[in-house]
């Protein structure tokens, strides 16, 4: 019983944090320079790893799909099938897990260090709101940065799948590319974008809130980094289930998915 009520308290705390961030973001001037610095840091730091991860995730899924569909004569449509599978489900999830470990941990460690060394109080005493100066630009940068990185990763995963099936399974790359439009509809790509946006929102919320709430010295910073990684991975998984279910039913109702 205690744990269940703690869970609701936890959600409420996050909602209050979100409300404060939104209110401060509206009322105070937007720190454009800080935002651009953060965005550039996040994207430039994580781009190579995201590219590598996306490339090999695409290759892995293609090889696995090939083993499964070759008995049904599915080699001819392997490109479409595996691209659709990677973009709709596996790609966003695995890349988001990687980004949660990297961006989330980095952001909450940075904010937590600032909190425990009283830099936030220092900023407040200099006449600037710490949420307006530190949290709002970071929050937006994490959301937009992870959206951009996820899209890059998914784009690269198509290329990785193409190369893997060409080299290992000896499938013509033009045929691989040609079957993609048959299976991967615009609605699937849109679903991937919506998922990426929600994963980015979750990462931004959880990493900023945990960083802002850090207490108790350098041990506390380590605790909040660990908490960020675990919370964001669990919430990404739950969000993935709910989003897949709701978006699929909504798109089916709108008639964008044929099946």
């Amino acid at each position: 019983m205690k744990r269940i009520s703690n869970f609701f308290v936890w959600i409420g705390e996050h909602m209050l944090f979100l409300k404060e961030v939104v209110l401060v973001g509206i009322r105070h001037p937007f720190e454009r320079r800080e935002f651009i610095t953060q965005l550039q840091q996040i994207i430039v730091r994580s781009l190579p790893t995201t590219m590598t991860a996306g490339f090999f995730v695409g290759g892995l899924i293609v090889l696995q799909y090939y083993l499964q569909v070759k008995d049904y004569g599915g080699e001819s449509v392997l490109g479409g099938l595996s691209t659709s599978g990677t973009i709709r489900e596996v790609g966003p999830l695995l890349i988001a897990f990687m980004l949660a470990g990297k961006i989330g941990a980095f952001t909450s460690a940075e904010l937590g260090t600032m909190k425990v060394t009283y830099q936030m109080e220092c900023i407040r005493s200099l006449g600037t709101h710490p949420i307006s100066y530190l949290i709002v630009p970071r929050y937006l940068a994490v959301v937009i940065g992870s959206l951009v990185l996820l899209c890059f990763g998914m784009f690269i995963s198509v290329f990785g799948g193409l190369l893997a099936s060409w080299v290992v399974n000896n499938i013509n790359p033009m045929q691989f590319l040609g079957t993609i439009p048959r299976f991967t509809s615009a609605a699937s790509v849109g679903m991937a974008f919506i998922k990426a946006l929600f994963f980015g929102l979750l990462m931004g919320q959880i990493s900023c809130a945990n960083g802002y709430w850090t207490t108790g010295g350098s041990v506390g910073v380590g605790e909040s980094v660990k908490k960020t990684a675990v919370h964001s991975m669990v919430s990404i998984t739950i969000a993935d289930v709910l989003l897949t279910f709701f978006i699929t039913s909504a798109f089916r109702w709108l008639g964008w998915f044929e099946a």
């Binding site: 991860a53 290759g59 696995q64 449509v77 897990f97 990687m98 991975m233 993935d240 897949t244 699929t248």
Partner: protein, 259 residues
């Protein structure tokens, strides 16, 4: 011959990260085979890895499994026009790729980061030098027990989560996809071979063994105090995630070439 080789290895490992990781892997392998790792630490790490990661790993893999079932229904309907065989398709995919990869990623962010931080703090506060002065091998105490514990727990957690995926898939198939319980269990092992399960489990064993080695390498290499520890932690998480995806790709490629 052997001492000069070890000397060369140490020289190389001061300069290159990869050589350092290989060196630590060899040392911990020797420590395990000669049975001189710390047994008390091994039991502690077994508890930390097993109990600490149990909830999150089983939860995340089960929910991802549920989405895999619904997603496979979408794709196989496009290919074959019917989704009556999807429990088996999805189960192969989960057992061979999804479960080991997700388990490894969760264990990295839950335990790997903190083990890097622990070793890094010991390095920067010169506790490792004190161990060397006392004639205790740091590998026996810090790395080898973790390697053994992590490989055993990753293996077992993947196995347990496969059972819970079976239940999760049953719920997904009977609620969302209109299967009956009988058709679900009948189709679950239609194509799933014993070799698929063994392949996935051996993969997760390898992942589990490589996580502490990479994390310890970054811990042993970290410098410049607290900031260096933070940096080493982030680098360790990223490097081990990329390594996991790369290793998974290589394993799958090897297996699909063999088949």
């Amino acid at each position: 011959m052997m001492p000069t080789l070890m000397l060369q290895m140490e020289k190389l490992s001061k300069r290159f990260v990869v050589a350092n990781a290989i060196h630590i892997a060899f040392l911990s392998m020797a420590s395990i085979l000669q049975f001189r790792f710390s047994k008390k630490r091994f039991l502690e790490e077994l508890y930390n890895y097993g109990v600490g990661c149990f909830g999150i790993v089983v939860f995340c893999i089960t929910f991802t499994g549920i989405i895999m079932f619904t997603e496979y229904s979408f794709h196989i309907k496009l290919l074959l026009g019917t989704d009556s065989t999807i429990p088996s398709f999805a189960m192969i995919m989960i057992a061979r790729e999804i479960a080991p990869n997700i388990a490894a990623m969760l264990i990295i962010s839950r335990m790997g980061a903190s083990s890097t931080a622990e070793i890094g703090v010991m390095k920067t506060t010169e506790q490792l030098d004190a161990y060397r002065l006392l004639g205790i091998r740091a590998i026996d105490l810090m790395v080898a027990p973790q390697v053994l514990a992590a490989s055993i727990t990753t293996f077992l957690l993947t196995l347990i989560s496969l059972f819970s995926v079976t239940v999760g898939g049953w719920i997904a198939c009977t609620w969302i996809l209109n299967f009956t319980t009988g058709t679900y269990f009948q189709n679950l092992f239609l194509f799933t071979r014993f070799s698929d399960i063994v392949f996935g489990l051996s993969k997760s064993f390898m992942y589990g063994a490589s996580i502490p080695i990479i994390c310890a390498t970054f811990g042993f290499r970290c410098e410049h105090g607290a900031e260096g520890v933070g940096m080493a932690t982030t680098n360790a998480v990223v490097a081990s995630t990329v390594w996991i995806i790369l290793l998974g790709f290589l394993f799958t490629m090897l297996f699909s070439l063999l088949q």
